[in-house]
C-alpha cells in the first residue's frame, strides 16, 4: 500500500517529533511511508475563520500533493475532517477541482482509525510505563467519528496505566482563532480542562491532535502542573529501547 503522510503544517512546524513517531509506528508495522514534499496546509484556520478564498489554493495544493496515494494518513483528526468535509465545499462549482478533491478525500485517515480500523492492528508493540489520561478531541469524536480507536490502541500499550479524564468529552476551548478572539471564554474552558487533568492524577495527557495539546499543554505548563502532553503517535512509538 502506498501511504502518503499528511503531517499538517502545525506538526511539521512545531511538533516534528509527532511526525517522526508516525513514521516509526508505520514502519515498525512493515509499511513503507512517503512524505510528499508538495504538501503544506489544509486551510482549516482560514476556512473556519471565514477566509474561504484564501483557503482555496491550499485545498488545490492538497489534492495535487496527495493524488495517487492509496492511503493518506495524518496525526490530526481535525485536519482530516477539514479535508473530508470542507474541501468539497471549497471545490464547489469547479468540475476539475471537485473531481481531484473527490479522488483524495475518501483516502484520508487519522492515525488512530488507520491503525485500528483500516489495518486492524491495536497492539503496535509499544511500551510506555506511565499513568496516562486521554482527551478525546472534539473533531475526532464529532466530525471524524473515530470512536474508541485511540483508546483501543492505548489499552494495548504495555506498561501503560490508562486513567479516566473527568468530563473528557467537553471541549478544551481551543477552537482555532476562538482562543484569541474569545480569549476569556477560551481560558475559562481551558482552566476547567486543566482541573480535570489534575483530578485524573495522570503524568501524561494524551490526545490525537497537537492543536488541542498545544492549548491544554500551554495552560498545564503556565500553571506549573508538571503534567506532560504527548500525541498518541509518540506514545505508540515508544519502546523499551527508546
Amino acid at each position: 500500500m502506498r501511504i502518503g503522510l499528511f503531517i499538517t503544517c502545525l506538526t511539521d512546524t512545531l511538533y516534528p517529533d509527532t511526525g517522526k513517531a508516525v513514521v516509526a509506528v508505520l514502519e515498525r508495522l512493515g509499511h513503507q511511508v512517503d512524505f510528499p514534499a508538495g504538501q503544506s496546509c489544509c486551510g482549516q484556520m482560514h476556512f473556519n475563520t471565514g477566509y474561504r478564498r484564501e483557503a482555496v489554493p491550499m485545498a488545490r495544493g492538497f489534492a495535487a500533493a496527495f493524488a495517487g496515494y492509496e492511503a493518506i494518513v495524518t496525526p490530526s483528526a481535525s485536519c482530516a475532517a477539514m479535508v473530508r468535509d470542507y474541501h468539497p465545499v471549497l471545490a464547489e462549482g469547479d468540475t476539475a477541482f471537485a473531481r481531484d478533491v473527490a479522488a483524495v478525500t475518501p483516502r484520508v485517515h487519522d492515525l488512530s482509525t488507520f491503525l485500528a480500523d483500516v489495518l486492524g492492528v491495536t497492539d503496535v508493540g509499544a511500551y510506555f510505563p506511565h499513568r496516562v489520561t486521554y482527551h478525546p478531541t472534539c473533531h475526532s469524536m464529532r466530525m471524524l467519528r473515530v470512536g474508541d480507536a485511540p483508546l483501543r490502541l492505548l489499552r494495548a500499550v504495555r506498561g501503560l496505566d490508562l486513567v479516566d479524564l473527568p468530563d473528557a468529552e467537553t471541549c478544551c476551548g481551543f477552537g482555532g482563532t476562538f482562543a484569541v478572539k474569545n480569549k476569556d471564554v477560551s481560558a475559562a474552558m481551558c482552566a476547567d480542562k486543566v482541573a480535570a487533568v489534575r483530578q485524573s492524577r495522570a503524568e501524561v495527557l494524551c490526545a490525537g491532535d497537537n492543536s488541542c495539546l498545544m492549548h491544554i499543554g500551554g495552560a498545564l505548563s503556565r500553571m506549573r502542573t508538571g503534567v506532560r502532553t504527548m500525541h498518541l503517535a509518540e506514545i505508540l512509538a515508544s519502546g523499551e529501547s527508546r
Binding site: 516534528p16 512524505f35 486551510g43 471565514g50 474561504r52 495544493g61 471541549c171 476562538f178 474552558m189
Partner: protein, 481 residues
C-alpha cells in the same frame, strides 16, 4: 411578502460577544448557577434520549418533515390560513416585528382591554411585544414562572426554556420580596414557598384577564390547530380563560398534518426538559362556542424568516423547535451565559439564528458566528439535526465578506501566502527555528505581542524546534518523494 431582514428592537446596541462574555466569565456566582443548571439537565437529557432505540430515526424523520414543509412553505401557510379561518379564527400576516406588535396592540385595544396575560413565547420576545404594549398603555403579565421572574426584575431572558437560569433561588426570593406586591412578608427561599407566592400572584391575573397572548410550538396546516407544549399549566390558563386569544407564530412553525406532530411530540420534551412527555399539551382549533376564547387571532410572523429560507446552508436553522438542548451542552454558553448573545435566542442556535434573522451588520451579530469553538456538541444533540458548526463557518465567510477588518485580513492573506506554498512554509520554518532563542531555556514562550498576547495571557506557547519535520525528512530520507 417580500424577504427582508427582521429586527429584535429590544436588543439594539448590544456590545460584541467577547466583551459581554468577559463580564459573565468574571461573575463567579453566575458561572456556578449556569454550571449547576446545565450539568443537571444535560445528564437527564442523555438518559431520556437513551431510552429510545429509534432516536436517530425520529431525528431524521423530523428533519425530513421540516425540510419538506420549508420547501413548500407557501402551500402550507395558505392551507393553514384557510383551515384557521374555517374554524372561526382570523389570520394576520406580519412582515416584521413592528407590524406584528402593531397588529397585537390594535387587537388588544379593539377588545377594550388594558392588560394581557401571556403564555411563554419566543416569538413575542423576538418582536419585543411587551415593550410595545407598555408603550401603548397596555400591561402585559408574563405567567410562565421564569418569565415572570425576568419581568419582575426588569431583566432579560438568558435561556430559551429556562429564561431565569442565571438566577438561583436566593436571588429569586430576594426579587419576589422586593418586586412582587402581594408576596408574603415572611417569604423564604424555599422553592415550594416561592412557587406558592407566584401562584397566588398570578391567579388574580388569570381570572381577570380579557385577552391572552401566546406563541405556538406547532401549527397544523390540515386542521388549523395550534399546539403549545409546557410544564406549568399557566399556559393552559391563558389559552382557555380569556375571551380573546392572540397567538404570534413564526411562519416556520407550520407542520402539514397531525401525523407529523407525533414525531415532534416524541422529540421535544426529551430534548428540552428530559421528560418522556411534558405535563401540559394544549391544542386548539379556531373557536368553539361556550368553550374557551370566543375570539381567536393568529399572527403569522416573518421577521427575516423568508430571507433565511433563501440561504441554502443557513435555512436549516428554521428547523429549530426551540428545545434548548444545544444551550445545555454548549461549553461556551455555560461560561458566557445567555445575555452575552444579545438576543432572546442565546447559545449555539442563537449564534446562527440571530445573524440569520438580523443580518451581520451590527457588532453583536458579526461577532456571534465566532462565539463557538466548533466543538460540534450542539449538532450531536439537536433533535432536528441542524448542523450548527456548518452554518457558523458559512456565516463567518459572510462576515469576512461584509466587513473590512483590514488588519485581520492582512494577517490572513499573508499567512495564506506562506501556508499555500511548501517552499515559503519551509523558509518560514527555518526563520522560526533560528529565532527559537526567544523562548529561553524553558522551551516555552511566555509572552507574545498582540493579538497573540490573547493566547499568552493565560497559556504558554511552544518554542519552535531546531528542525521542522519537513527538514528532518529531507535530511534523513532526502529526495525519496
Amino acid at each position: 411578502m417580500t424577504a427582508q431582514p427582521g429586527n429584535m428592537p429590544t436588543y439594539l446596541g448590544m456590545p460584541a460577544f467577547p466583551d459581554a462574555a468577559r463580564k459573565a466569565v468574571a461573575d463567579s456566582q453566575l458561572r456556578r448557577n449556569l454550571t449547576h443548571a446545565t450539568t443537571a439537565i444535560r445528564v437527564k437529557r442523555a438518559g431520556a434520549v437513551a431510552e429510545l432505540d429509534d432516536w436517530e430515526q425520529l431525528r431524521q424523520a423530523a428533519k425530513a418533515i421540516k425540510d419538506h414543509t420549508l420547501a413548500n412553505l407557501d402551500t402550507y401557510l395558505l392551507r393553514l390560513e384557510e383551515s384557521v379561518t374555517k374554524a372561526g379564527g382570523r389570520v394576520h400576516w406580519a412582515r416584521d416585528a413592528a407590524e406584528a406588535n402593531a397588529i397585537v396592540t390594535g387587537l388588544v385595544r379593539g377588545a377594550g382591554s388594558r392588560g394581557v396575560v401571556k403564555v411563554k413565547s419566543m416569538a413575542t420576545q423576538e418582536t419585543g411585544l411587551n415593550e410595545a404594549l407598555e408603550a401603548a398603555g397596555i400591561s402585559p403579565v408574563e405567567t410562565d414562572l421564569a418569565e415572570l421572574i425576568v419581568q419582575l426584575g426588569h431583566d432579560r431572558p438568558s435561556h430559551i426554556l429556562v429564561p431565569a437560569i442565571h438566577k438561583n433561588r436566593a436571588e429569586i426570593g430576594e426579587l419576589f420580596r422586593a418586586a412582587m406586591p402581594d408576596a408574603p412578608s415572611d417569604l423564604t427561599d424555599d422553592p415550594a414557598q416561592l412557587a406558592a407566592a407566584a401562584r397566588a400572584h398570578l391567579r388574580q391575573a388569570f381570572l381577570s384577564a380579557e385577552v391572552g397572548v401566546s406563541g405556538a410550538n406547532f401549527a397544523i396546516a390540515d386542521t388549523g390547530s395550534l399546539v403549545v407544549v409546557e410544564s406549568e399549566g399557566n399556559g393552559r390558563m391563558c389559552l382557555t380563560l380569556p375571551r380573546v386569544l392572540i397567538s404570534v407564530v413564526g411562519v416556520e412553525k407550520v407542520l402539514p398534518s397531525w401525523r407529523d406532530l407525533e414525531v415532534f411530540l416524541a422529540l421535544l420534551p426529551r430534548s428540552s426538559t428530559a421528560e418522556r412527555m411534558n405535563p401540559y399539551t394544549t391544542i386548539w382549533t379556531g373557536v368553539a362556542p361556550g368553550d374557551g376564547p370566543s375570539e381567536f387571532h393568529l399572527v403569522l410572523l416573518d421577521n427575516g424568516r423568508t430571507a433565511t429560507l433563501a440561504d441554502s446552508v443557513g435555512r436549516q436553522a428554521l428547523r429549530c423547535i426551540r428545545c434548548s438542548a444545544c444551550l445545555n451542552v454548549c461549553p461556551v454558553y455555560e461560561r458566557a451565559g445567555g445575555h452575552a448573545y444579545g438576543s432572546p435566542y442565546p447559545g449555539p442556535i442563537g449564534a446562527i439564528l440571530s445573524p440569520q434573522l438580523r443580518g451581520v451588520s451590527s457588532p453583536i451579530d458579526s461577532s456571534l458566528p465566532y462565539a463557538s469553538t466548533l466543538c460540534g456538541a450542539c449538532y450531536d444533540v439537536c433533535p432536528v439535526a441542524i448542523n450548527i458548526p456548518e452554518v457558523l463557518v458559512e456565516q463567518r465567510a459572510r462576515v469576512v465578506e461584509d466587513h473590512k477588518h483590514y488588519s485581520e485580513r492582512a494577517v490572513f492573506q499573508l499567512s495564506a501566502y506562506v501556508l499555500r506554498s511548501p517552499r515559503r512554509l519551509a523558509a518560514a520554518q527555518r526563520l522560526m527555528s533560528s529565532g527559537r532563542f526567544v523562548a529561553g531555556r524553558s522551551g516555552r514562550i511566555r509572552r507574545l505581542p498582540p493579538p497573540l498576547s490573547g493566547w499568552t495571557d493565560t497559556r504558554d506557547a511552544p518554542a519552535p524546534p531546531p528542525e521542522s519535520f519537513r527538514a528532518w525528512w529531507a535530511r534523513t530520507r532526502g529526495g525519496s518523494s
